[in-house]
Symmetry: C2
Subunit: 473 residues, 2 copies
Amino acid sequence: MKKLEKLLDRILRRVNINLKVQKFEVDPFLRPSVPFRKLSQFYAFYGVTGQHPLHFHFSHSNLAGSYFLGKCRVDGSILYKSDIRGDELRSKGESLNLRGIRMTLDQDEIISISDSLLVKTLVHSRSHDPENPEVFNIKNSASCPFANIHGSPLEGSFLGAFATADLTTLHGCVVGPFAYVQVGELWHEKVEPGQIWINQTEVFDFRYRFPEDVLKKYIRIEPGGLPGGRFMEFLNSRKADFRRVFDVVHLEPVPSVPRTTSLSRYAVVKPKTRFGANVLIAQRAYIENSILGKGSNAQENCFIINSHLKGNNVTAHGAKLINTHLQENVFVGFNSFLHGLAEAPLVVGRGSIIMPHTIIDIREPLSIPEDHLVWGIITSPYDLRLHSISLEALAAVTRMKTIGRMEFCGSGEKFVAAFKQRINHILEANGAYYDGRKNKGHAQKGQNIAYNIIQPYRMGAQKGIYPTIDIQP
Amino acid sequence: MKKLEKLLDRILRRVNINLKVQKFEVDPFLRPSVPFRKLSQFYAFYGVTGQHPLHFHFSHSNLAGSYFLGKCRVDGSILYKSDIRGDELRSKGESLNLRGIRMTLDQDEIISISDSLLVKTLVHSRSHDPENPEVFNIKNSASCPFANIHGSPLEGSFLGAFATADLTTLHGCVVGPFAYVQVGELWHEKVEPGQIWINQTEVFDFRYRFPEDVLKKYIRIEPGGLPGGRFMEFLNSRKADFRRVFDVVHLEPVPSVPRTTSLSRYAVVKPKTRFGANVLIAQRAYIENSILGKGSNAQENCFIINSHLKGNNVTAHGAKLINTHLQENVFVGFNSFLHGLAEAPLVVGRGSIIMPHTIIDIREPLSIPEDHLVWGIITSPYDLRLHSISLEALAAVTRMKTIGRMEFCGSGEKFVAAFKQRINHILEANGAYYDGRKNKGHAQKGQNIAYNIIQPYRMGAQKGIYPTIDIQP
């Protein structure tokens, strides 16, 4: 185990160097989340499909429980139960517009993770660093459980538990727990816990920050300990159900999944669940007693329980739906927690947008009207008024709008348009619009996936380190 | 599937070119044993231990169901359910005596399999080609189910079903079904079905050939069909028991296996079975209602049913023991079939040697005295007289001895000594003599093995082909 311990030390030191300016040390937030015994026991796995250009390279790393798809290299890093999905990387020859300048990629894009520690973190999409479109780079960085790195190269940065870096390049930044940033680029910035921040330079800016007492109830971080609070309690209570899917090589096929729907064999599906066509159920998703209508998806780390998704619904990475009914075209953002009760369900009207990192936790029935934007913390109809706006009203904003703790400035019209465009893109990418010939997406491309299992050295000084592996077509 | 079909054609053609002189075509013997559907469904796996120098390289090949340990490369080949064990390869710096000349290896030995088709074949030990001690080479060759390639580089050669090439370099040879050769080197030779042949140039020569009618009963080959006969019937009746061990990633540990005993998680163990210390149960072994005493082993493809092994017993690759009691230090050679009945058990006395490819198939109890050499086909006490000799009597032979169909010439003393030395070496290599500190063998070195699973492309033109994989420390 000696090499593995040294590797962890080395990574933490490298991250700390980068965050010295912030006076931030990552050790107390990450050491408790790295269980050495499991690091040398768990296998990692990668998918091979024939649809995604293939190149994996793993060296001097531990990859316990992690999953890979698409081009990826990992060097000198520890990825514990992380999910690295490179199926939206750009391909060689693809032409793109960067700040108004056209350029063509002369090689396939690759996710490169070096000298980093990612714990239960999802890495997805493609690089949004205009300086480096061929490499989705994560270097000298560390992230805590259920963080999302989405289209966001990271350098010398730290993500707290349930934090999301979305389409944002981060250099030397600390992003607090449950914070969400989608702001293009940040240098040596500290993002406070529970801060939701969406910014397009000189176009719009959306900010909301969870009150400290609310945050503490749902996600509690104590340096030197594991994350606690309602999110973790919810996840821990369903942890055991995942054991079987990781223990068995070939699970019996689940009956009656439509041909154009993709159900990962690393997802948990419990009775009574029904899937429509063009549905994507990603690995590490959990579905129980629910109906997923045509073109809806359950992305990684999603939980959908006693719920009904009418169709074309996005349940983004880490979102949880319990006793929740989504009308058509509802979008639920990253790590949202929508918790109704059997006797007090939540209904979300057609076309509404649940912002990333929204908490709706009700004890009486609640209906969200159609075409609304919803954010923050909602436990009652009263809260809803302070944490929502109709898309029509928002589109009419030209300078500024404050509702409760939410501050918006800039063009509401452009904000709504950008969101709608992105939701449409997500549905398209996931295969919601597949018609049997055109518009293939992940739901169709990931169907014939073969999973390969890799394991670390089991004893000696190398214990827990994976052999150097290079995989090419 | 197109590339896979082309690959098979290409391999068969390459083997045929080499065997043109023999007027032999391999296609009718191998095509029926290559199930294309399974080739693209089954996973392959390799072991990583930290005790065996690591280098795997797989390119343009199908490896369905195959297993690898130790350094190995496979290029342009199809290995279907084969077992490639490189854990006795020589290491860099090892000094060896070749034909009286000392030389030191300047690199680790590697098994290299190229342009070949191996079906359910076991490849084991190290190169015995004095011209090439760094590479255990298998090239332009094909082998049928349950063949053994043991320490035997093969070039342009064919092995029939249940054939064994043991410590013999083969160039352009055809070895018939159930034939066994241990003769050093053969060039453009045809070895008849059921021929048992052990030769050490100018020292001794042992020959026995199974009568054709006996052979047909146990192993029947019809060009264009699958192998048939009692061996295959026996194997097919227990095939289903292996399904579970290949379907589950982490099987529950079997209780009460001594710490110095190694039980592969890819073996089948059924009640009520007990293991002593220093026992090795290799992958693909099957043990049922049996006792394996201290230092005994069950190598790949062995079946041990209702049997008792007293201790320090070798059950070589593919040997089967049913209702059989082995006293201490009994050796049972490759692919032997020892079949007693509950009411008519077989007892083999201390120190006796059951030659490779021996068939004992009885309906009344039979005891083989101690320190005897046994070969051929035995179904009664009468047969035993015609197919055995005491080691003492054999050691006294100085020129020639004929018993039934067996012909021996040369030094009986040296023959017995060579056999005893080899058995001792096998026990030592397998860890039978481990005392808690010294004499570690496979039983101890293979204990902390991690299994890695690799899978082929599941669709498209590449279907059934494995990605190019390179694995190093």
